[in-house]
Symmetry: C2
Subunit: 290 residues, 2 copies
């Protein structure tokens, strides 16, 4: 159990950590900071923490573990604000969906006397804000830690134990590999969902109404994904540009091949492809990630 | 209540109709036909119907309503087999996801003394086969009917009442318009999901395992869609080629625009797009189709 846990940014992920840490008795005092007075007020109304801070510098004072839960574009600002106030020997982590950019932006700001261990819980919903969080969000889901070479093994172990304490499974990974894997499993699916939902909104008005009405046929699953936090996703795409563009290139080639098969009536090619993809679902169910 | 309902093809949709018709007392006798002896055996084991037929011609005899629930590519064969045996004054319908092709393939085969009224329940899951159906599948979902000009108003009313009796909402639409709306709400989303899941399976083995492991971040929703019946979807793409290629063209343009915004770091463009798509989710929730 930590004496003091500090959460910077009380959105879906931050507020889920707070709830899970509380539920599993992982911290005596939970300090919450957010730049939005509205979010902070909601967190207080929901009694999520023990103290509430407009300034992240106040929240991190004496904290054993500080987790940054803001969009990646705001990391540098937060890092500058909290760096001088971090407790020596404490752990500084985050939950960002891109890890190389976090090392780039936050790494140089993290003081030497602090254990800087980036992290990423691979979990979420399309909802945002402090009220959207829930204690079970990380149950059975993976959290990836990307410690730097030479990171303190005990600190990595402590952070890992914090996540497993909240129900998560923990794995370590190289930052560059993390960004490639997430580009295909998360970033590209979101980009595609955002695209097709936008394409639909560009249709004539009468058709648009019908798109809503008949969305149960596949489209609505994309709208759920495309309802995710716009700022957070803007920052992810801007900060994982290379890996996203690489995966997008592969996707576009495959889409063009299927487009050609449709145009030329190549039924066998389509059937083969659709049969192969079906097996992937089975693997995900077997891996208990469905 | 019908005296005899005949269902040709006892997959997810066929078996859901049978269960819903039974639950709501819409037919005295339910005759089930399927070309697969295994599917027919499963249907019998599940006690879905009152009679089971390897030959669709036997199933339709004396039926007041016949609904074809096979992949679109098999319509012509089924139509030829049943046409001489359809009861004069009875209704012949279907559940295919493409309507112009159904008119093309089945229209010329339907005898003049039968009311041919194509239909499409906009509902489904990624599961297939007689065991996958359930009586509530159509509850609150739309079924689209595409009667020909000059169709018998009473027959259209009877068929509509059958669907509303199973809990569905019913709407009439022009076949060409149906195919355009479904191209964007259903066919393109499925094509894209099939594509990206296939792209992921083309990655090196080690990354593939991680794609499964970390699929909770967006990818798994696509795998669900990409687990749908391969034969059924092959036939949909081959039979709604024009509308799918048109919508795919629009999608590709939009995807290229977002790709460019990522490459050039145009954050505002991304944020605007992602904010616009978020509103669509709201509309779907308001329309009770979420």
């Amino acid at each position: 159990m930590m004496n003091r846990l500090s959460i910077i940014g009380i959105g879906l992920i931050g507020s889920s950590i707070v709830r899970a840490a509380r539920k599993h008795g992982l911290a005596k005092h939970i300090a919450i900071a957010d730049s939005s007075t509205e979010a902070l007020k909601t967190a207080e109304d929901l009694k999520l923490g023990d103290s509430y801070h407009a300034s992240p510098a106040d929240a991190v004072k004496n904290a054993d573990l500080t987790i940054i839960c803001v969009p990646i574009g705001a990391y540098a600002e937060v890092g500058q604000a909290i760096a001088p106030h971090l407790k020596p020997g404490s752990i500084l982590s985050d939950v960002g969906s891109v890890k190389q950019a976090v090392l780039r932006d936050l790494g140089p700001l993290a003081p030497d006397h602090v254990h800087f261990i980036p992290g990423h819980p691979v979990a979420g919903t399309e909802h945002s804000g402090p009220a959207a969080g829930f204690a079970e969000l990380f149950d059975g889901r993976w959290t990836i830690l990307t410690p730097l070479a030479g990171a303190d093994a005990n600190a990595v172990k402590t952070l890992g134990a914090f996540w497993t304490g909240m129900g998560a499974l923990v794995e370590e990974m190289e930052p560059i590999h993390h960004d490639q894997v997430l580009a295909i499993t998360s970033h590209l699916p979101h980009l595609i969902a955002y695209t097709i939902v936008g394409t639909a909104t560009g249709l004539e008005d009468s058709t648009q109404r019908e798109v809503i009405k008949f969305s149960a046929s596949g489209f609505r699953d994309f709208t759920r994904i495309a309802a995710s936090n716009p700022i957070m996703w803007r920052d992810i795409f801007l900060n994982n540009r290379e890996a996203v563009l690489e995966m997008l290139g592969r996707f576009s080639e495959d889409l063009t091949a299927l487009q050609r098969a449709i145009r030329w009536g190549e039924g066998e090619k389509l059937e083969d492809w659709f049969t192969r993809t079906r097996a992937v679902r089975r693997s995900i169910i077997d891996a208990k990630q469905a």
